[in-house]
Amino acid sequence: MASAFTVLRRLYLSVYNWIVFIGWFQVLFLALKTLKESGHEHLYNAVEKPLLLAQSAAVLEILHGLIGLVRSPVSSTLPQIGSRLYLTWGILWSFPEIRTHVLVTSLVISWAITEIIRYSFFGMKEAFGFAPSWHLWLRYSTFLVLYPTGISSEVGLIYFTLPYIKASEKYCIRMPNKWNFSFDYLYAAILALGIYVPGSPHMYRYMLGQRKRALFKSKKE
């Protein structure tokens, strides 16, 4: 029985997913266009606006999980979105020196393909109630390649940005101060790199589990 609340929820989620899908589609389109016309050094500048918008919109997904609008546990959406926002704002936007690095290309393309499949998949399910089996397959299989390429790009970019972080003193709070507080963005970046060590296998394993459930269960039906 579709209550008003259910209808509203589906409407909202459909709109959300399709809008963000368009954002990522723009990212991929502009990325490939720039690669063909100019070269990887110019890729970031071409995709910056839609990338910042589409990636930041993902913050809403944490909210969706918290208020129970979607089933995804916050424990898996938080690290995923956390790392995305960190790379987008904390590395690429904050340190222009790294924007011409070739890993930006692999990063953006990995992210864009993954998100285009993901958002259109959820957009289909919320709007039309189903998604074709090839779509389901893509959603739960492309990560097998795109997670390693994406994660390697993330780790690589953080690593190559470290010298710029150290030199710039950006986001650092130094002592002395009356709250005896300090924050060193360089150490935080190194800590972030450290988190990838247990974090990546955890996320990969989680997706493998999701894949098994999604593809195995649909076969049974």
Binding site: M175, N177, K178, N180, F181
Partner: protein, 311 residues
């Protein structure tokens, strides 16, 4: 009587079951299981009565002191018991000792040794402010007190804790210990005014003494035989708050932070307070459920849970 032992999936855990005296206790059963399996010493065994499938009730855990007969409802000659392996166990005393040892040893390292040279600071790096010395004494006294209470005061509800908790708890205490010690003993540390320092440490010490007295009261609620069990705590602050021991512990850390004023110290205070609040909610709930006023049991009085006037 014959005891059939099954795993939670229903599979027979010990082929053929175990044969025990009709007057045997649960402890005897545990011994028998240990004899047959060698790997599963008693503190690793969790024995429960089977719960009908689909039922959402919590299973009845077998108490080691009771006789098996008490759990046979009807059929005196056989009993089915569900076995769960709790994993390798360590005694609570061992766990507490190691988790408290870290802060006790790590903090003085930041005070006495010029570790800040490794962080790039040159010249004179050792602490110079009196508050830093008092903080060292206060901190070390606190963890020394905790270790002493572990061995001479506390009576635990369970004898053991899973081994994995050693790593988890030590990571928590040792990391926070180093994190706070780093800032309080830092060459660029900024002390608060003298009066604030005295108020902080004074208040903290009073709370530590109160906390010790709370522990003594809790100890006297249980017999020395390690049988655990729960009673309604009474006297002193327990008359108004269920977990007065946690309350005094939280306020004691507040005193330390008022005196030393570091962001790191306050983060620790917030985290520790939330952990203790979780425990307090569970304990309060358990006591209210146990002491419901029925069947001659006393009714648990109306009290604050942990932090009046909020909770």
């Amino acid at each position: 009587m014959k005891v059939s032992l099954v795993s939670r999936s229903g599979r027979e855990f010990i082929k053929g079951g175990l044969e025990l005296n009709d007057s045997a206790t649960v402890a005897d059963l545990q011994e028998a299981i240990h004899k047959r399996t060698k790997k599963f010493y008693p503190s690793r065994q969790r024995l429960t009565l089977p719960v009908p499938s689909g039922s959402r009730e919590r299973p009845v855990v077998l108490n080691y002191k009771k006789s098996l007969k008490d759990y046979c409802d009807g059929n005196e000659n056989s009993l089915t018991v569900v076995f769960k392996d709790l994993g390798p166990q360590v005694s609570y005393r061992t766990l507490f000792f190691f988790e408290y040892l870290g802060p006790l040893i790590l903090y003085p390292v930041f005070y006495y040794f010029p570790v800040y040279k490794f962080f790039g600071y040159k010249g004179d790096v050792l602490p110079v402010h009196p508050v830093q010395t008092y903080a060292l004494y206060y901190w070390c006294f606190h963890y020394f007190k905790r270790i002493m209470e572990t061995f001479f005061v506390h009576r635990f509800s369970h004898a053991t804790s899973p081994l994995s908790n050693v790593f988890r708890n030590c990571a928590y205490y040792w990391t926070f210990g180093a994190y706070i010690a780093y800032y309080v003993n830092h060459p660029l540390y900024t002390p608060v005014g003298d009066l604030q320092m005295k108020i902080g440490f004074g208040f903290g010490l009073v709370c530590q003494l109160a906390n010790f007295y709370c522990h003594i009261i809790l100890k006297n609620l249980r017999g020395p035989d390690g049988s655990g069990g729960y009673q309604i705590p009474r006297g002193f602050l327990f008359n108004i708050v269920t977990c007065a021991n946690y309350t005094t512990e939280i306020y004691q850390w507040l005193g330390f932070n008022i005196a030393t004023q570091t962001f790191a110290g306050y983060v620790f205070l917030v985290v520790a307070a939330s952990i203790m609040t979780n425990w307090a909610l569970a304990k309060h709930r358990r006591l209210k459920k146990l002491f419901d006023g029925k069947d001659g049991r006393p009714k648990y009085p109306r009290r604050w849970i942990i932090l009046p006037p909020f909770l």
